[in-house]
């Protein structure tokens, strides 16, 4: 098994990258098939029914997704596959449906799915409530993080983290453990713990709100992060800090990121494996990182037009 090359990396290398080698070897030494399979599933590997062949199953599979907002069709048949260890970027003109994609996957009220499907690690995402999707490993970075007066950031984050752990049957974090974790992630994003004792996002500048989103992501430790225009409203320094934060938290073989963005600049820090162009509710073109550079040079209209040709 180890030594089976795929996508340029052996299974062993992927396990090491994901920090799962010890777990895998422990499961292997017990000889318990179920445990071995469970560990390998974390990096996206699944055995078929005959228990013979391995396939890499995507972490996120979206098939022909259609969604309305206020009775207006916005997503018109969007399909996408993201595998563990990958970073995807979705770019597109205003009104294309980028934020709608994020909100639909997050389960925001008012976003009505009219067709298609979305699964996260094999589970039907669209069938779950928003808090269940979070516990299943989804994190949605908001374009405009919401202010919640009177509710302290640390209290909310600790309750959220423990609510997720509870629903996954994990031990909750004690007050001390949580503060230690929060401090670590806050430091990564260059945020003062004093700021995080304030009510959620109240009085935060745009850049601070985005960095606070990343702190939440660090503490909640999701499998898949969908970051909606995280780079909007960021100055040069904040952009670099957020970019480095995303890399530090999410660039792992058992995690994946979907960056929704207008501009190339965040992609300078968080280099994507794949770039997709979303136009009029569908993905019309996919490519590597150089596609984003082309868009910057030629503009959406030109590049999208050639897909119609």
């Amino acid at each position: 098994m180890a030594g089976h090359g795929f996508e340029g990396m052996t299974v062993n290398e992927r396990l090491v990258e994901a920090g799962l080698l010890e777990e895998y070897e422990l499961a292997h030494s017990c000889g318990e098939r179920a445990k071995i399979n469970a560990v390998l599933a974390k990096i996206g590997l699944r055995r078929d029914e005959n228990d013979m062949n391995w396939t890499i199953e995507p972490m996120l599979t979206i098939e022909d997704l259609r969604a309305n907002v206020a009775d207006k069709p916005i997503l018109k048949g969007l399909s996408l596959e993201i595998k563990a260890g990958e970073i995807h970027a979705i770019m597109g003109p205003n009104g294309a449906g980028k934020s709608t994609l994020g909100y639909t996957l997050g389960g925001r009220p008012g976003y009505e799915v009219t067709g298609g499907s979305a699964t996260l690690c094999g589970e039907d995402l669209l069938d779950m409530e928003p808090h269940e999707r979070a516990a299943a490993g989804l994190f949605l970075g908001f374009q405009y993080p919401v202010e919640i007066p009177g509710v302290s950031f640390v209290q909310f984050l600790r309750e959220a983290a423990n609510a997720q752990r509870k629903s996954r049957g994990e031990e909750p974090l004690s007050g001390g453990e949580f503060l230690k974790l929060a401090k670590e992630k806050a430091g990564l994003l260059k945020m003062d713990m004093d700021m995080l004792k304030r009510p959620v996002n109240v009085g935060f500048s745009g850049g601070e709100k985005k960095r606070a989103e990343m702190v939440q992501m660090g503490v909640l430790d999701p499998k898949l992060a969908i970051l909606d225009e995280t780079d909007s409203g960021l100055d040069i320094d904040a952009l670099r800090i957020c970019g480095e934060g995303i890399n530090a938290i999410m660039r792992r073989e058992d995690k994946a990121v979907l960056l929704i963005t207008h501009y190339q600049r965040l992609l300078d820090y968080v280099k994507p494996d794949y770039v997709h162009i979303l136009s009029a509710g569908r993905i019309v073109k996919s490519g590597g990182p150089d596609l984003a550079l082309r868009l910057e040079e030629e503009g959406y209209e030109a590049v999208v037009a050639e897909t119609a040709a």
């Binding site: 997050g106 389960g107 925001r108 009220p109 409530e129 928003p130 808090h131 999707r133 979070a134 516990a135 949605l140 908001f142 993080p145 919401v146 202010e147 919640i148 007066p149 009177g150 509710v151 209290q155 909310f156 984050l157 309750e159 959220a160 983290a161 609510a163 997720q164 629903s167 009510p199 939440q216 909640l220």
Partner: protein, 246 residues
């Protein structure tokens, strides 16, 4: 011979929204007198709980430079009425915070009459109601400023959160001002929990009831901010909120 006060009717402004049937069993409400002497400071808190109807009427006088911090948590009675008549002397200060938490067919009301009789007195009233089911939460608040009571600073902030559209919030602020140099800021608002805020909290893993509880806790805590017993009051309010949301 003592006068027997007759039971009020709907035409009596101060009882416009009361549960008159429940009031009958409590009538007449015997006023309780509280006098804060010149220069004295006091803090009082009342918790109206249990299922039985309760009505209290406090008649309060604050002497020169006296201070009173009065907080009320009304959470539980089928009918709960808390009425206060307050007269402020020169330089007195009155802080009032009330939280009304009701569900099912409960009826809660806070009726205040705060009169500034002397110079440079200040008063502040913060009322926060959380109403579910078909409950009714009422605030009738009259602020009076007598002739010569210049330098008055009187504030009222009344907000009600409806958990269900079948609940009712009533708010009637009144100002009767006979002096010129007066500050009297007042605001009333009735609304629902912010759906955006709720979704944000839920998207981080908080189940709907916990998300609502967090937001409501903060809302209600505004009535007890700065009170010496705020921790106990907030804990009692939280417990009641859990029961209402469940």
């Amino acid at each position: 011979m003592s006068e027997v006060l007759s039971l009020p009717t709907r035409r009596d402004e101060d009882f416009r929204y009361s549960d008159l049937k429940a009031l009958e069993a409590l009538w007449p409400i015997v006023p309780e007198t509280i006098a804060i002497a010149d220069g004295d400071e006091e803090a009082l808190q009342f918790v109206l709980d249990g299922g039985a109807p309760i009505a209290r009427h406090l008649v309060i006088t604050l002497g020169k430079g006296a201070k009173l911090d009065l907080r009320v948590l009304s959470a539980g009675p089928a009918y709960g009425r808390f009425a206060i008549d307050v007269r402020l002397g020169e330089g007195a200060d009155f802080t009032f915070g009330a939280a009304q938490l009701a569900t099912a067919s409960e009826n809660l009301e806070v009726v205040t009459k705060v009169v500034h009789t002397g110079l440079n007195a200040s008063s502040s009233q913060i009322v926060r109601s959380v109403l579910g089911g078909t409950s009714v939460g009422t605030y009738l608040g009259c602020i009076g400023v007598e002739r010569g009571a210049d330098g008055t600073d009187a504030q009222q902030s009344v907000r009600a959160m409806l958990l269900d559209r079948t609940a009712t919030a009533n708010a009637k602020p009144e100002l009767e001002i006979y002096a010129d140099d007066v500050k009297a800021a007042h605001g009333c608002a009735v609304g629902e929990l912010d759906a955006q805020g709720l979704f944000y909290l839920m998207s981080r893993g908080l189940p709907p009831l916990d998300a609502k509880r967090l937001m409501l806790q903060a809302f209600v805590a505004e009535a007890f901010a700065g009170a010496p017993q705020s921790d106990e009051l907030n804990a009692a309010a939280q417990a009641r909120l859990q029961a209402i949301l469940a």
